[in-house]
């Protein structure tokens, strides 16, 4: 078997194992909470008889291990159960909201990743000079602003002062692609501002690190232009650390943007999770927790594998 293929299989198997462990931890964590799901549904007005009926109905009288594997079986077949609070099928509710989460994250990533790489390269090319200082200064300022401050700032600027966008970013099925893009414009701007600096700084640092090497000096002596050197010679060798930072930021765009979702009333997973945590709707919390874990693990596997593929030393191990 080709070593890369072997590695790929290994990583994915490891990821699945990790996900399995996470599912157990989530289940244990929920189990460890005082009271059970039946009690959470019936609340204050619970009579012992009603509790028992509901426990039987939900299979809560089974031992924890049986229930864990039942839940896991459900998850694997796409059956996440029903939300306690409103009886809505969780898989269905999550499906649409996950789509919205990925749409927002995707839009933000499509803008921020290329922008960060280009700005990083430019900053490295003019290291220590004014373009570098300007780029670093601006991006470090935007990352230092708390998300909600940046959000309120763009709302004020782009809906009130210059009314070009809408402050409420809800998207609905049936909206045209263009209308959706317009709706998410403001949250995308905020997310780009937030994630740009981290990726840009890593690109700059990684390229500058490689620029010290002897082969870059050779390239310079050959008379290549600085930008060609950076793209053709420095960048491919600096890509591994950049990819891992990009992966972390992409994961953040999927799982960590609750505040931005709330500020723009964007109907995606984060707000859904927060609403259900407040109401102690544990099946939903379990399901969303698992999805978030899967996204993190998945993106990290991708980052690992790409970094290996990009690195000739790892690609051709002796």
């Amino acid at each position: 078997m080709h070593p890369i293929l072997k590695l790929l299989v290994q990583r994915i198997a490891l990821g699945l194992l990790l996900l399995f462990a996470v599912s157990a931890v989530i289940f244990l964590g929920v189990e460890a909470l005082p009271g059970d799901t039946a009690q959470a549904i019936l609340g204050q007005s619970a009579t012992p008889q009603a509790l028992e009926n509901l426990r039987n109905q939900m299979g809560l009288d089974q031992p924890a291990l049986t229930r864990y594997f039942n839940w896991l079986g459900g998850v694997l077949t796409g059956d996440l159960g029903k939300a306690l609070t409103n009886g809505v099928d969780i898989a269905q509710a999550i499906g649409q909201r996950l789509g919205n989460t990925l749409f927002l994250a995707g839009c933000a990533a499509l803008i921020s990743v290329p922008l960060a790489l280009i700005l990083g390269a430019v900053a490295a090319r003019y290291a220590g000079r004014w373009p570098d200082k300007l780029i670093s200064g601006v991006t470090l300022t935007t990352i230092s602003l708390p998300e909600f401050v940046a959000a309120y700032f763009v709302i004020f600027l782009l809906t009130i002062v210059i009314p070009v966008f809408q402050p409420v970013a809800m998207v609905f099925p049936g909206m045209s692609f263009w209308a959706k893009l317009q709706a998410v414009a403001l949250p995308v701007i905020v997310l780009v501002l937030v994630v740009l600096a981290h990726m840009m700084r890593m690109t700059r640092a990684a390229i500058l690190n490689v620029m010290q090497s002897a082969y870059i000096e050779t390239a310079e002596l050959k008379g290549l232009s600085p930008m060609t050197i950076i793209w053709k010679h420095a960048f491919p060798n600096a890509v591994a650390p950049i990819i891992s930072v990009v992966a972390i930021n992409l994961a953040y765009l999927v799982v960590g943007v609750v505040v931005v979702e709330v500020v723009f009333s964007y109907n995606a997973l984060g707000q859904y999770l927060v609403d259900h945590v407040t109401k102690r709707d544990l099946p939903v919390v379990q399901a969303v927790g698992l999805i978030f874990a899967a996204v993190y693990i998945g993106l990290n596997i991708i980052a690992d594998v790409t970094a290996i593929i990009a690195n000739p030393r790892l690609r051709h191990p002796k």
């Binding site: 409103n86 009886g87 809505v88 809906t159 009130i160 500020v263 009333s265 109401k279």
Partner: protein
């Protein structure tokens, strides 16, 4: 008075009030007959415009919401339900009972047996006709513990229900002169077959028909062409968007993305009122913010200590600083002028450091810290209010201290559990309901643990009393008992502060019953 006039003008405009009634009622308010006549002519000719889309951006919607009216507990479902659903009776802005599915109501002389005549020819959105049986089944479902209805306390006093032809007869366990008022509760939306088959069906007889419901996101409703009342439901489409963030909601109104919003932050109300295209509307409601003491637990079992605390709070300061002036001072009993039969001659209690000190010394309290528990979610500004209270009480020598609690679990771990905490009440349509919900000895939500035999006796007597003067005197006596002996410290009544696009929305009337014109603003307003 201007609001009342506005309301009557709009009724006249909708053809709901005859010229004779209009002139009679407006002249009773001191308007000259000639002016009243002119107003009526003008109003009756200014027809509300039909058509278009009205969008409301509201705080108070969660992705955990359902369509079951029994479970509605926040504004977005309340507004949504009020559009696809219809009630037996409703409240008018001036505190009268308005006939909806019911056409007529009458009672036996002892107000124990009530008969409702059901309006004929009203249909549900699935085409079924609304019958007395549907109404009865609806009330029955709400009396069922499993339905977990918020109106259980109201309907459980009905001991017998009988549906015959177009008549529904309700027999009460105890006489109540207020039953029609109680049945205006927003949970009691009439559903086909009472909603037993599927309480979440969203099928009702309201002015609109539900098209889309996404919990915590939006309601989309289309006009019901068969609705029985042409005076309500002017826009073709209503969208209710759930926007919980204050800034986003305000920006949505300012930028015109929504036509109306609820809960303007008092801190910015004045600023927003100056913004172009936006109008801030305030309605004095019955809701109030409170600090509650358990009268059965030390040290609050001592009335002198309770009085010391009641004299140690600066009410006007709270209205100014916590509500930004958008409210009115309370007087330590849960009733204000928005209630029928309110006695406005009861002396207003003021901050009095000397009296507070005197009562505190008389109580013989040992001087150990008195803990007041509060959380940001107890009511908007609850932490600041508690700190203001502590400062003014300390100035009178009372060792009051604030303990901050987390929002999470506040209503289960602190409220109704700890002996002294911050809380709020939404108010009820009539005094009887407010008192029986929280001050009757046997009340489930008696959050001050107040037990007073004389008070209970008066409450029961007033409930059956048909002579309004006697009834008012009884309520006044009850107010005095709660004010001077109860565990309630009530510094302020809040207002419902809403915002509308001033050039785009017409027909708004400030309604004290509940937020957003008693939840019906999108149906009652029209696009100008």
């Amino acid at each position: 008075m201007t609001d009342m006039l506005d309301w009557m003008v709009s009724r006249a405009r909708q053809g709901k009030m005859s010229r004779r009634e209009f002139i009679g009622r407006t002249t009773a308010m001191g308007v000259s007959t000639a002016l009243a006549g002119a107003l009526y002519t003008k109003a009756a000719h200014a027809e509300p415009k039909k058509g278009g889309v009205i969008r409301a951006g509201l705080a108070g919607g969660e992705s955990t919401n359902t369509l079951d009216p029994a479970l509605a507990a926040s504004v977005v479902p309340q507004v949504g339900n009020a559009h696809w659903g219809e009630q037996l009776v409703d409240m008018t802005p001036d505190g009268q009972v308005e006939m909806r599915i019911a056409e007529e109501v009458s009672s036996s002389p002892d107000s124990k047996v009530w008969t409702f005549k059901i309006r004929q020819g009203v249909t549900f959105s699935n085409g079924q006709t609304v019958t007395a049986e549907d109404v009865m089944a609806t009330f029955k479902r709400h009396t069922d513990e499993n339905a977990q209805s918020g109106a259980l306390g109201i309907v459980k006093g009905i001991s017998e229900m009988k549906a015959e032809g177009d008549k529904l007869e309700l027999t009460l366990e105890f006489p109540s002169a207020d039953l029609p008022y109680l049945l205006t509760d927003y949970h009691l939306i009439i559903q086909p077959g009472g909603g037993y088959d599927n309480p979440n069906a969203g099928i009702g007889a309201g002015p609109y028909i539900l098209e889309t419901f996404e919990p915590g996101v939006r309601y989309v409703l289309q006009k019901n062409p068969n609705y029985f009342d042409s005076g309500i439901g002017h826009a073709d489409t209503i969208e209710v968007l759930s926007i919980n963030d204050n800034t986003a909601r305000t920006a949505a109104l300012q930028s015109g993305q929504v036509h109306m919003m609820n809960r303007i932050d008092p801190k910015i109300a004045e600023l927003l009122a100056g913004a172009p295209g936006v109008e801030v509307r305030r309605a004095v409601g019955r809701g109030h913010y409170v600090f509650i003491m358990h009268v059965d637990k030390a040290p609050f079992d001592n009335n002198d200590l309770r009085m010391a605390l009641k004299y140690g709070i600066k009410r006007q300061e709270m209205v100014d600083k916590i509500l930004g002036g958008l409210g009115s001072v309370g007087n330590d009993f849960p009733i204000n002028a928005a209630y029928p039969l309110f006695d406005d001659s009861i002396e207003q209690r003021e901050y009095d450091a000397a009296k507070a000190k005197e009562y505190y010394e008389k109580s013989g309290h040992d001087g150990s810290p008195i803990m007041l528990r509060t959380a940001p979610g107890a009511f908007p500004g609850a932490v600041d209010a508690a700190n203001l209270f502590a400062a003014s009480a300390q100035a009178a020598g009372i060792p009051l201290q604030v303990q901050l609690e987390p929002d999470d679990g506040y209503w289960s771990n602190v409220w109704n559990v700890e002996p002294f905490c911050a809380s709020y009440w939404g108010g009820r349509p009539v005094q009887d309901q407010m008192y029986s919900t929280a001050y009757l000895s046997t009340a489930e939500w008696n959050d001050t643990k107040f037990k007073n035999a004389k008070f209970d006796e008066l409450l029961m007597a007033a409930r059956a009393e048909l002579d309004q003067d006697k009834r008012k005197a009884q309520y006044s006596e009850m107010a005095h008992i709660v004010r001077d002996e109860g565990g309630l410290i009530l510094p302020m009544f809040n207002e419902f502060v809403a915002g509308i696009r001033s050039n785009e929305i017409a027909g708004w009337i400030d309604d004290p019953n509940a937020e957003m014109m008693n939840y019906r603003a999108p149906a009652k307003c029209w696009l100008a």
